[in-house]
Structures are given as structure tokens and as C-alpha cells.
Amino acid sequence: MDHFPTNWGRPRHEGFDAYGTFPIHQRPTNGPKDAFKEGIERTQQPIVTGTSVLAIKYKDGIMMAADNLASYGSLARFKDISRLHAVGNNTIIGAGGDMSDFQYIQTILDDITTEEFTAQDGHSLGPAEIHEYLSQVMYARRTKMNPLWNALLVGGVKDGKKFLAYVDLLGTTYSASTLATGFGGHLAIPLLREAVEGREDTLTEEEALRIIENSMRVLFYRDARSLNKYQVAIVTEAGVKISESLKVETSWSFAEGIRGYGAQTQ
């Protein structure tokens, strides 16, 4: 049934009445519609990206590491980017994925911590609250079909409790004593689990550093979007410390014998 009275008693389509004896343009059209004609298109891919972030629990708190590279596709575009960011005095976040989205996340976290600070009510946001907030933001954005293209690790220590959890562009969350995003999820996780699980409360800072350094080295050898320059963040009851850039020590002598690497003899 056509509910528009102006259409009644008239041809369904102007094609039936080539001489157009009625005002075509004042009437609603009943032809097929393209439901997506005015659909919104959004950028749905990361542009400048960071690769893995690693984090483990150890005796005194949380240790997190990420390299200093922001890639533009396969090009190593920015080599002095910090992908670790302290939020307040108890929390560190590390980001893989789109770096502009990460910068946006830094500003919204800065906004909420400032708002919380101005209340002066003796409360402050800890790692658990920051992670919960981020998971809500990430899920809300994926539901709008406009995700923040990141995988984030949130770690920290507050009131004597260690906290370490993951959240990504879908709003997926989980928690473990060793976490890694991106390529690290494939390469570093088995190494980290082997070294850390069951020893979260006994590992010293030096041991933890060595575990992290070793995983960063493996990642630099095998992940083509990684860099041999990285930072380590340490969160303890005393607060957050982000290190200067460290260098991954590598040895390439093995490559001599591999065809395609060393000097070719044939």
C-alpha cells in the first residue's frame, strides 16, 4: 500500500508517463533506495604504528617495556617515540597499534586524572580504575564502528597490590602475570611465561630486567617492525620510573654462514 495520497491514481514510475503531466519532483519516490548511499565512512586502519609491548610482574611490582619505533607501514619512520606513558603516580600504560590514537588516549587520561586531582578528596585513580575506564572507552568506540586502534597494557601497584591487564581495540580485556601485545604475543609470551610464572613474588629487579631484555632481543631479531632501542618502565610502591632508551645487544656473526646475509662466495 502506498500511503502517500499524492501518488494515488498516478503511474508508479515516471518511465510509464514519458510526457510528465504531473509534478514529479514534489512527490516522494517509491523506487528502490540505496540504504548505504549516505553511509558514513571512517578511516578503519592504523597509519603510524608501534609494535609489541611486554610486561611482567616481579617482586617489587610491574616491569613494562616497549621499543622507541613508530612505523609508517613497513618504513621505520620515527625512531624516538616513547610508547610508555605514566598515568598518575601508580600506573603505567604501554601501547601498540596506532600512535595518534595512543596520543589521544594520553590526553583523555590526563583529563580524568586532572579532574580527579581537583576534587582533592584524598582519592586517586589506580591501575585498576585506569584499566576499567580504558576498557569502557575502547568498547564504546568499537561499538560505534570507530575503534581506537590500539592494544594497551596497563600495569601498576597501589595499596600493596600489583595489577597488570590488557585491553585492545575491541574492548577485550584479560589479566595475567605476563602480558604482551602484537608480535610479542607470539614470540615473547612463551619466553616470559617460562621465566616468570610461579616466581612473581621472588623475581628481583635485576632478574626481571634480564628476562625483559632477552625477550626484546628475540623480538628485534624476528619482528621486522621492531627497533634495537627500547625503554623499560618500573612501577613499585615508590612510584613510576621510565628509563632512558636502552640498546639491545645483538650478535650477527651467525649470519656469515647463511646465504643471503654474509659475503656471497658463489
Binding site: T107, D110, D111, T114, E115, F117, T118, A119, Q120
Partner: protein, 247 residues
């Protein structure tokens, strides 16, 4: 007041024949009846202090703060109607956060006080609202160093080295003038602020009061916070001792 009964004080949108706006002047009276608030701009930072009159013994200690934090590096103290003080601090917070959103950097005090002045002045323009019954001391440290401002109910604001508003402002101002403000350290400023508040408090007329002191400077990592408990206790003890030798 001579204006009573003349009909020129019925609205803030009416001048008296000699060019005054009585409603704004009455708002000033609300400020004069309030406990004293002072601000000191010293070499490295700013100290705010308030004589908070406690109108009932049943109140929880530290309730109804009159010093509020606007942004990490900005604080304000008000004298006058408590509820108006809350409204102005909320507005100041909104302005500070909107500045952050737009320029991605902490707001300079000048920007906040400009907006706050406009906001307060707008409440002198319409018959549907009343002027603010408060004066506000805004203090903070930004990229240009420490600064201190006072906004009055008319919306006018000035920068100061030392500011006093409320009941005991006259005595407080003369005390502030005796100080070499730009030579004081932050801790010395806290001591002086406590002393002045205790000095201007009128024991005979007023009931109990609570001292409130906040600071922004190197000791507080350039954030606006109430001074640490031990320093506060020391300042309060010294202020009480100074009062006894004064008398």
C-alpha cells in the same frame, strides 16, 4: 545606606542617579561578613589561607572547604556565600579544562582570571540573576612564575602581591604590607599566613574557626594542595604563640 527606599536598589540592571549599582554593593556586604581569606605571592610560589568560621559544633572537622583546586597548578579561596564559592570554582575548573582541551597545555592564570571576570560580571547584567556574593582569590604558578588575582562581585579583577578579603581584610592588609613578600620562602609564607589569620580573628565576636592553608610551589611539586599536616600543625602552633606575645 542612603539608597534605602529610593527604589534604585531593586535590580542590578538599574543605576542610581549618581552612577552606582546598589545590588553589586550589597553583594560586597556579603563578602565583608565572611571569614577572612588571604593570599601571598612569594618568590617561588603562592600561599592561600582562610579563616573558616565554624557555625556549629556538630559539623565534621574540615567540612565545607573554602579553598578549592581549579587545576593542578591553580587554586582559589573565596570569601562570602559558600555556595557561590562552589559555583565559581566549578566554573573555573571548566574553564581550565576547556583551555587544556583547546591548547593542549596547562592554562596560564591570566586566561582563567579573564574568563572568571567575564563570568562574574555577566551576573550583574540581568534582572533574572543576582550578583555573586563572593570575592575570589585565585593563585597559581604557571610558565611566567607565580601570580595572584582577586575577582570582586562586580567582575573587576586585579593582580596582587598580597591579597586579603572578608571581615579582617583591613588588618590583614596592613600585616601583609609589613612583609617583604618577594623575599619570603614558601615555608615562611605559610607561617606568616597562619599568624595573620590568627591575628585578625576576632575572639570576642566570633565563635570557633578552622584554619585552612594551601600552597603551590617547589615543595608541592608545583601542584595546588593543602599544606602537609606536620607543617600545618607547626604553623598553627607558632601562630598561637605569636598571638600571645602580641597581646
Amino acid at each position: 545606606m542612603t539608597s534605602i527606599g529610593t527604589g534604585y536598589d531593586l535590580s542590578a540592571s538599574t543605576y542610581s542617579p549618581d552612577g552606582r549599582i546598589f545590588q553589586v554593593e550589597y553583594a560586597g556586604k556579603a563578602v565583608e561578613n565572611s571569614g577572612t581569606a588571604i593570599g601571598l605571592k612569594v618568590k617561588d610560589g603562592v600561599v592561600l589561607a582562610v579563616e573558616k568560621l565554624v557555625h556549629s559544633k556538630l559539623l565534621v572537622p574540615d567540612a565545607n572547604r573554602r579553598i578549592q583546586t581549579v587545576d593542578r597548578h591553580i587554586g582559589l579561596a573565596t570569601a562570602g556565600l559558600l555556595a557561590d564559592g562552589r559555583n565559581i570554582s566549578n566554573r573555573a575548573r571548566d574553564e581550565a579544562s576547556s583551555y587544556r582541551d583547546i591548547y593542549r597545555s596547562p592554562a596560564p592564570l591570566k586566561a582563567i582570571i579573564d574568563r572568571l571576570g567575564l563570568y562574574v560580571q555577566a551576573y550583574t547584567l540581568y534582572s533574572s540573576v543576582r550578583p555573586f556574593g563572593i570575592s575570589t582569590i585565585l593563585g597559581g604558578v604557571d610558565e611566567n612564575g607565580p601570580s595572584l588575582y582577586v575577582v570582586e562581585p562586580s567582575g573587576v579583577f586585579f593582580g596582587y602581591n598580597g591579597a586579603a578579603i572578608g571581615k579582617g581584610r583591613q588588618l590583614a592588609k596592613t600585616e601583609l604590607e609589613k612583609l617583604k613578600l618577594n623575599e619570603l620562602s614558601m615555608r615562611e609564607a605559610v607561617m606568616e599566613a597562619a599568624r595573620i589569620i590568627y591575628l585578625v580573628h576576632d575572639d570576642a565576636k566570633e565563635k570557633d574557626f578552622e584554619l585552612e592553608i594551601s600552597w603551590i610551589g617547589p615543595e608541592s611539586n608545583y601542584t595546588h594542595v593543602h599544606v602537609p599536616k606536620d607543617l600545618f600543625n607547626e604553623a598553627e602552633a607558632q601562630a598561637k604563640a605569636a598571638l600571645e606575645t602580641f597581646e
